[in-house]
Amino acid sequence: MVKTDFGPPKYLDMMSDLCKRNYGKWKYHEVLDTGTLVHVAENGEKLYTVRSATPRLIHIDTLRVFCDLADKYCNGFFRFTSRHSIEFLLEDESNIEPLKADLHAMGYSPGGVGNTISNMLHTQGWIHCHTPAIDASGIVKAVMDEVFDYYTEAKLPARLRLSLACCLNMCGAVHCSDVAIVGIHRVPPKVLDEKVAKMCEIPNVVAACPTRAIRPEPAKKSVVINDEKCMYCGNCYTMCPAIPIFDPKNDGAAIFVGGKVSDARHPAMFSKLAVPYIPNEPPKWPTVVKTVRMLIDVYAKDAKQGERYGEWINRIGWERFFKVTGLPFTDKHIDDYIFSVPTFRSTATFKW
């Protein structure tokens, strides 16, 4: 019998002696450049970190190369970050440049530290999920190629967190990102009556719909969807594979902006809808890419030092945001879900 329930490897077994020695005894850090940090411990010891974004979808051979580099420069220790960057942990300052050179040689550029765009959070997309409205990795690659200068150079007013989720399930913290791309559907799912009868629990399907758009159709042992009430969340499809919601002609991406999770200065905020829809344009999604670039450029130019994306918009106002970005404001931008009313402007104060 194989053992079960023994848990993950102990983190201390994965840490260098220097890290263990100074565990919980770090004193301060300094940003050396957009790819390098140094942490100084109470006892004066220093730990250098070289960070690089990764595509997250990594082949084991690439991971082995990372291991080789860690063996060469870091006594065999490295880590990943909460945003899927890799961090090499060096004790010897003189190893920094050689490591960076090796990384560059394999196509990885250090970056993402300080007031930059760090690695772009994302999800499975067409690589592995059954519910996406857009791909994940392809859009991320196209976007990151375009905004790469913001990843390597510290020319933003504050850090900017980009992310992508390929459907409304929003795997990842996409709903609280500075700029987020979300896959959306735009037409109600199709009910395949015969398959529903065979594969699905009608009561569960009916209960799954948040807008009560689904009612049972007992005659067919299936369900009927009231198209007027459906807002294409795909939740019925999650419950019942016989109600596919895909539509290549209509699926695409929405863009949300202004979220954050840190409480620094302003408490964490949700991202808000900026662009309701951009069609899928594989392989390089030029419209999404252009829009994201524009959204970042405008912010980089207009925000004050230290202002995150949402803090900038709070200061100038959403009226102005739509003006300076040139994006159209539509009925889609006005909330009509459960918590809508508190988002309405119950004051005669606003900018023209």
Binding site: V2, T4, D5, G7, P8, P9, Y11, D13, M14, M15, C19, G24, K25, W26, Y28, H29, T49, T54, P55, R56, L57, I58, H59, I60, D61, T62, L63, C67, F77, R79, F80, H84, G107, T123, W126, I127, H128, C129, H130, G138, K141, A142, D145, F148, L168, N169, C171, A173, H175, C176, C233, N235, D251, V261, S262, P282, P283, Q305, I338, F339
Partner: protein, 396 residues
């Protein structure tokens, strides 16, 4: 080994400064048929603008209810290597720290028994092993177990908890994020591996208000380090910052949300009215050498976060303003267990903890957990007059 699939669209994503995922799949395709088929199916998705994955049937590993996501191609005739292409979630070490020798073992197993493709890491925090056959699942799990790697969560269970790097490499960790996540994960192996609840439950732990693991946004239970006493000011370092040209007024004084910092340009001294500080962490972020957090540390516990399905995204909200976080972390465990019991009893299928609280009211949650109502739980008290009274509170 047949030729590599032709992927004219995907090939356009090979160049450019950002590392290419297509290159990674191609690496795999050279030695693994499934990877080659993945290239092909992805190219097809790019042409047709639609996914080609089907809903998963339930697959798994003996003794575990979760940890595997079943996945099947809907065009297996064209891409036989993807007929079954399941994902396995492997529980990462706390803080995503790795020693190369341990990791290489895992990679070898995955070379032998899977596609060789991975995610380092999944959005929840697991190591994702991307794609293998049904009949390899048990083997992978066994081999992993042999090398000390256990599975993560999936389905209606506790999901793999995660934490920011914390004391491992950060001066701002008010709590031992790594020890907490490790302890809780080990304590709740049964909850993690055997789905039994109304829906999933996530725990994320950040050492300070910067929330480096985005806990508030994506965990049902978010644990955020904080302090109770005063920010420590190093006067000499303040002067150094100012002399170095740092815009102390613009970046620190003016940005303090409660305006409780004052700076005297003549004496170059900064003082903080800690009584009105809300511990947002901005001033410390901006002057790490000059300012340090207080010394009485613990955590704020927030509950209810999740993504938009079904009722809109919720960010977790405060339920315990301050909890000491000392091993063996009994207090947080007690709370978690009470919450799970209440949720398990009252939650509808696919109702997250936050949604249940929304439906039944904080009142009901507080009663179940025995937590006292405190103003820190709300941004402001209710504006409507529709509040409930218990039978015991009214005159009969």
């Amino acid at each position: 080994m047949p030729e590599l699939r032709k992927t004219p669209m995907l090939d356009q994503l090979l160049d450019g400064p950002f590392p290419s995922f297509v290159k990674e799949i191609k690496k795999g395709a050279e030695k693994n048929e499934a990877c080659n088929d993945l290239l092909g199916q992805l190219e097809l998705s790019y042409e047709e603008k639609i996914t080609h994955w089907k809903h998963g049937g339930i697959v798994g590993v003996t003794g575990y209810g979760g940890g595997v996501i079943g996945r099947y191609s809907d065009v297996p005739e064209q891409f036989p290597g993807l007929t079954e292409f399941h994902t396995m979630r492997v529980n990462q070490p706390a803080g995503w720290f790795y020693k190369t020798d341990r990791l290489r073992k895992l990679l070898d197993i995955w070379e032998k028994r899977g596609s060789g493709l991975t995610n380092f890491h999944g959005a929840t925090g697991d190591i994702i092993l991307l794609g293998t056959h049904t009949d390899e699942l048990q083997n992978v799990a066994d081999d992993l177990a042999h090398e000390g790697w256990d599975l993560g969560g999936s389905g209606s269970d506790l999901r793999t908890p995660s934490a920011c790097v914390g004391p491992g490499r950060c001066e701002w960790a008010c709590i031992d994020t790594l020890d907490i996540v490790d302890t809780l994960t080990r304590r709740y192996q049964n909850e993690l591996h055997r789905p039994m609840w109304p829906y999933k439950f996530k725990i994320k732990i950040s050492g300070c208000a910067n929330d480096g693991v985005a806990a508030k946004a994506r965990a049902d239970c978010s644990i955020i380090g904080t302090w109770k006493d005063n920010i420590q000011v190093n006067r000499t370092e303040v002067v150094n910052y100012v002399n170095g040209g740092f815009d102390i007024i613009g970046q620190v004084v003016d940005k303090c949300p409660t305006k409780c910092i004052s700076y005297n340009p003549v004496t170059k001294s900064l003082s903080i009215d800690d009584n009105n500080c809300v511990r947002c962490h901005n001033c410390i972020n901006k002057m790490p050498k000059a300012l340090r957090q207080g010394k009485i540390n613990g955590a704020t516990i927030l509950i209810g976060g999740h993504a938009p399905i079904l009722q809109s995204a919720f960010m977790s909200w405060v339920v315990v303003p301050f909890m000491e976080m000392k091993p063996p972390y009994t207090e947080i465990s007690d709370l978690l267990e009470k919450i799970w019991e209440w949720w398990d009893e009252n939650g509808k299928m696919r109702e997250r903890t936050g949604e249940l609280i929304y439906r039944l009211g904080m009142r009901s949650f507080l009663k179940a957990t025995g937590l006292p109502a405190v103003p820190q739980m709300v941004l402001h008290p209710r504006t409507n007059p529709f509040f409930f009274w218990d039978k015991e509170e009214v005159n009969q």
